[in-house]
């Protein structure tokens, strides 16, 4: 039955400022003296407390008015304060994903210059690139920010699965399409020849029409379900904005309504 605690809880969502602190003190004293008055009239302390709290109504309306200006002052700051939400474990995971992304750039490049094979390059890119991209996606979705709540890890996994399917389909389709290359005439050619060959891949189109079919098949099998899953997830997405953002939005709507709507 701590009045102070109760009041603090009621205004927990509001930025503390001198005016709000002042109001909280005034309200605390009001409730305290009200309870004392009721007890003096013969009410027991517990019901007096409950009555006094009941009589308050919705004092957050007042806090809205007092807290408003302050909130706008820290508005930009609140948007920027993402750093507070990144824990040491999370930052380590971000760095790890960054390292894997680095490998996903360097290793395929090395493979490309060493062998000049598109297939081999993509094959090397596949595990590292996917791990890095999906890792960043997962961490990003689960990242709580100043304006947004974190997504649940279960839902984030579904997103990762969708993205993984799309990415896997595209990369494997690449490998399937250029699969002919290893037995094609460019195999013995130099790096530049292969590069030109890759650029004008339409030559391959005639040579390896079966691989085009294969590539499309792979795309259909993996990427299509991935896209479908992704669309489903995006359509069923809930608004994860934080309560203060929603309030801010409502206020702006109200303001726009009052000032710009024709009545």
């Amino acid at each position: 039955m701590d009045i102070q605690k109760h009041i603090d809880k009621m205004f927990a969502d509001y930025q503390e400022n001198p005016a709000l602190a002042d109001f909280k003190e005034e309200l605390t004293i009001h409730i305290d003296e009200r309870i004392k008055g009721l007890v003096k009239k013969g009410m027991d302390e517990k019901s007096a407390f409950e009555k006094a709290i009941n009589e308050l109504g919705d004092v957050s309306v007042i806090a809205d008015e007092i807290g408003k200006k302050k909130r706008q002052d820290v508005f930009s700051e609140m948007y920027m304060k993402t750093r507070n939400y990144i824990t040491p474990v999370k930052s380590a995971l971000y760095v790890l994903c960054g390292l894997v992304l680095g490998l996903a750039v360097i290793l395929p490049l090395l493979t490309w210059y060493a062998s000049g094979m598109v297939t081999g390059t993509v094959m090397v890119l596949l595990p590292f690139g996917m791990a890095a991209v999906l890792g960043f996606l997962f961490l990003g979705l689960m990242q709580e920010t100043a304006t947004r709540e974190a997504m649940s890890w279960k839902r984030a996994i579904w997103y990762v699965l969708a993205a993984g399917l799309i990415l896997f389909g595209v990369l494997v389709a690449f490998v399937t399409y250029f699969g002919m290359e290893s037995v094609g005439p460019s195999n013995s050619a130099g790096v530049i020849d292969t590069y030109v060959y890759t650029l004008y891949g339409n030559k391959m189109f005639k040579q390896g029409s079966t691989s085009v079919v294969g590539a499309i098949t792979v795309l259909m099998i993996f990427s299509l379900p991935g896209i479908a899953l992704g669309i489903f997830l995006i359509l069923t997405e809930k608004d994860r904005s934080k309560s203060w953002v929603i309030r801010q939005r409502e206020e702006q709507m109200k303001y726009a309504d009052e000032h710009f709507s024709r009545k």
Binding site: D22, F23, E25, E26, L27, I29, H30, D32, E33, R34, G37, E55, L56, G57, D58, V59, V61, I62, E65, I66
Partner: protein, 112 residues
């Protein structure tokens, strides 16, 4: 039939009620609250948010001022003081109310 107090009707006049309470003395929040309760025979279920919203509004409009009292014993109290503008607003509201009351009574009468 028992008559019942229309809290809604009273709520619409909170600002004027507060100004009326301050016409002759500076008072603190709970004091005004208690006076309203006792003068309505505890019939009016006045919510604290209604009253304090009114204080904040009146203060913003310049009708009242507030200051912390320097109690030597007991809790600190925040007093409200009516300004000249507040007095003018009060008199205007009273005129408005008397005028409106006449018209309203007339409107509510059974037609013959």
């Amino acid at each position: 039939m028992e008559p019942k107090l229309s809290s809604d009707l009273l709520r619409g006049h909170t600002d004027t009620i507060v100004l009326a309470m301050l016409m002759n003395a500076d008072r603190y929040g709970l004091e005004i609250y208690n006076r309203i309760l006792s003068r309505t025979d505890e019939q009016y279920e006045l919510k604290v948010d209604t009253l304090y919203s009114s204080y904040k509004r009146l203060e913003k409009e310049g009708c009242i001022m507030s200051y912390w009292g320097n109690e030597t014993q007991g809790a600190r109290r925040k007093y409200y003081h009516i300004t000249d503008k507040g007095r003018i607003v009060y008199h205007q509201n009273m005129l408005d109310w008397e005028f409106t009351q006449k018209i309203l009574s007339n409107l509510l009468k059974e037609e013959k």
